[in-house]
């Protein structure tokens, strides 16, 4: 970075945003620290409780529950931390400088607008990528260490993101989207609000389309079968006269075998189907989402650069006049 931009410019960006860098470092360190604590102290207490519960009628599960809940909290922070990045990028990194005119001043001092924006994006991108990669690695390690104590499966929204590169992609996307909104609005506080909202909408939409990012598996069985373990169930139902009828709630026929048989005959059930993602679909699903989020990030960055020259010309004309 510094070879490309010259040491002066990246150093300036770093010095200006030192508090933000410290906050980010503290955030990453605190989360990794709490993951280590959870997976040493809390988990061993939880595992002891679990072992005790296997052989006793009544048992205490406070640490067990604590482990699950706190791990879910850490997942939420690893996953949704990008909302803070969007706020910072829209408000403090770009919006404030455009509002106060500092950016324009820099452009007249021998720093070309393109180099200015490149420095503004690459200098934060480096610690953001490093920090969120460290968070993902730490979370993955913790998540797989104590499967018996976990609260929620690989399909829960925050855990799904926190276990792979999508978490990094969201952070970079927040940086780019914050920059773009700051260029569109040129005011710090409105840019802050709009970029957080935009990123919130993005993650809301991605969570809704997530199961459709990779073709699901449909299994048809003659009798009502058990689900594959750890599958992401999307739909299940009966096949009647060649048509699929989705369950709404539980299985239509329950009771002893004779009762079930009578019920199956009465309803004309030929078989059962279920639509799901097996656990092996995690990576394809996750990587498609990562790709989409990175594409949004690239688009936002390109648009921000395209908005730049016009302002630079305007700035130059102003200073010429």
């Amino acid at each position: 970075v510094s070879a490309l931009l010259g040491p002066g410019l990246s150093r300036t960006v770093l010095r200006l945003h030192r508090p933000a860098l410290i906050v980010w470092g503290a955030f990453v360190a605190a989360l990794i620290g709490s993951l280590v604590w959870l997976n040493t102290v809390t988990s061993s207490a939880g595992e002891r409780e679990r072992a005790y519960c296997d052989h006793h009628q009544t048992c205490n599960i406070l640490n067990w529950l604590d482990y699950g809940q706190r791990t879910a909290w850490v997942a939420a922070l690893v996953c949704y931390g990008f909302l803070g990045v969007a706020a910072w990028a829209g408000g403090a990194l770009i919006g404030r400088e455009l509002e106060s005119g500092t950016a324009r001043l820099a452009w007249t001092q021998g720093v070309s607008p393109a180099r200015w924006l490149t420095a503004k994006l690459t200098v934060p991108a480096l610690p953001l990528t490093l920090g969120s990669t460290a968070l993902v690695l730490a979370y993955r390690r913790g998540w797989s260490a104590h499967p018996g104590l976990r609260d929620g499966d690989w399909t829960s929204a925050a855990t799904f993101v926190a276990r792979g590169p999508a978490a990094v992609a969201y952070v970079l996307c927040a940086l780019a989207v914050g920059t773009l909104t700051a260029f569109l609005l040129r005011r710090a506080l409105p840019a802050l609000g709009v970029s957080v909202t935009a990123m919130g909408v993005l993650v809301f939409v991605m969570e809704r389309v997530r199961p459709h990012l990779w073709p699901s598996v449909t299994r048809v069985t003659a009798t009502e079968g058990l689900w594959p373990r750890h599958a992401w169930q999307l739909e299940q139902g009966t096949i009647r006269d060649g048509h699929r009828v989705a369950y709404s709630g539980s299985s239509p026929c329950e009771g002893n075998p004779a009762q079930v048989e009578r019920c199956v005959d009465r309803l004309g059930i030929d078989g059962y189907y279920s639509v799901f993602h097996p656990r092996s679909h995690y990576w394809p699903l996750h990587l498609v989402e990562t790709g989409i989020v990175l594409a949004v990030a690239a688009l936002a960055a390109v648009l921000a650069f395209r908005l730049l020259p016009r302002r630079a010309t305007a700035a130059r004309e102003e200073s010429a006049a």
């Binding site: 906050v23 506080l189 709404s248």
Partner: protein
Amino acid sequence: MSALATGTARALVRTHRTALTVWAAFIVGSVACLVWLNMVTADSVYAEIAPCEHVQGLCRGAFASLEYSEPLGWVSTVVYYSFWAVAAWAAAALIGRDLESGTAQFAWTQGVSPTRWLAAKLALPASALVLGGTLFVLVFRWAWSAHRDLMGDDWGFNDVFADRGPALVAWGLAALAIGALTALLLRRALPALGISVAVMIALNQYIEYHRDELWPTVPRTPGTESSGSVWQVENGAYHPPSHFWPMNLVETGILLAIAALATAAAFLVLRHRTATPRKESLA
């Protein structure tokens, strides 16, 4: 004096017109959502569920109540946590920006004393928060109790607990006061925004964690089956639904005390800050 006061108020309304509009739209939208859910959605859900009484087993309508309960839960959650946005706005847009840019210092030289400036700055949003919050609480109390059979929640849920009483308004007022105080301490918009939101989240987490201790519990009585709507605490002790009002009012009192302390501290900080320049201008 009163002409000056109305002038200050009018200038304030004009500066924060966008925020007032957003707040009004937010409250009206949430209330409209609640009314729609209870007047329109509930009926269609009942129509979907009705045939299930005669169907043994398979019934498409069994999950129809989600069409009602899910959006209602979302409205309840979003309005409850709107105090985060109040804290952010109060710290950054209401006070922080004016101190950072010097607009506030300029106003103080134009016949508006710092104390009156801050009083006006706080009174206007406070009345908007009280009005909007009260309207929402009244409508939510009706909406939440109208179709209990379609809902899966309970009065002890974090958002429901606050939304059904004055605690909701108190959260907004505490966020306003904390936001103003942080902005006066830091005198910069964006850092004040970050810190005031963080303080409010921490305060909220702390109070939610200790909510069941706001009023003495009823001990377990052996042999009696507790009804579904009690709030279970450790060792079988519980809060009956009748504890809702005392608990909500204690929380309201705590939050209003915090808001009052933060407001008093904000005025003290302002007086301390503005004392020196005035002496200078006298000299």
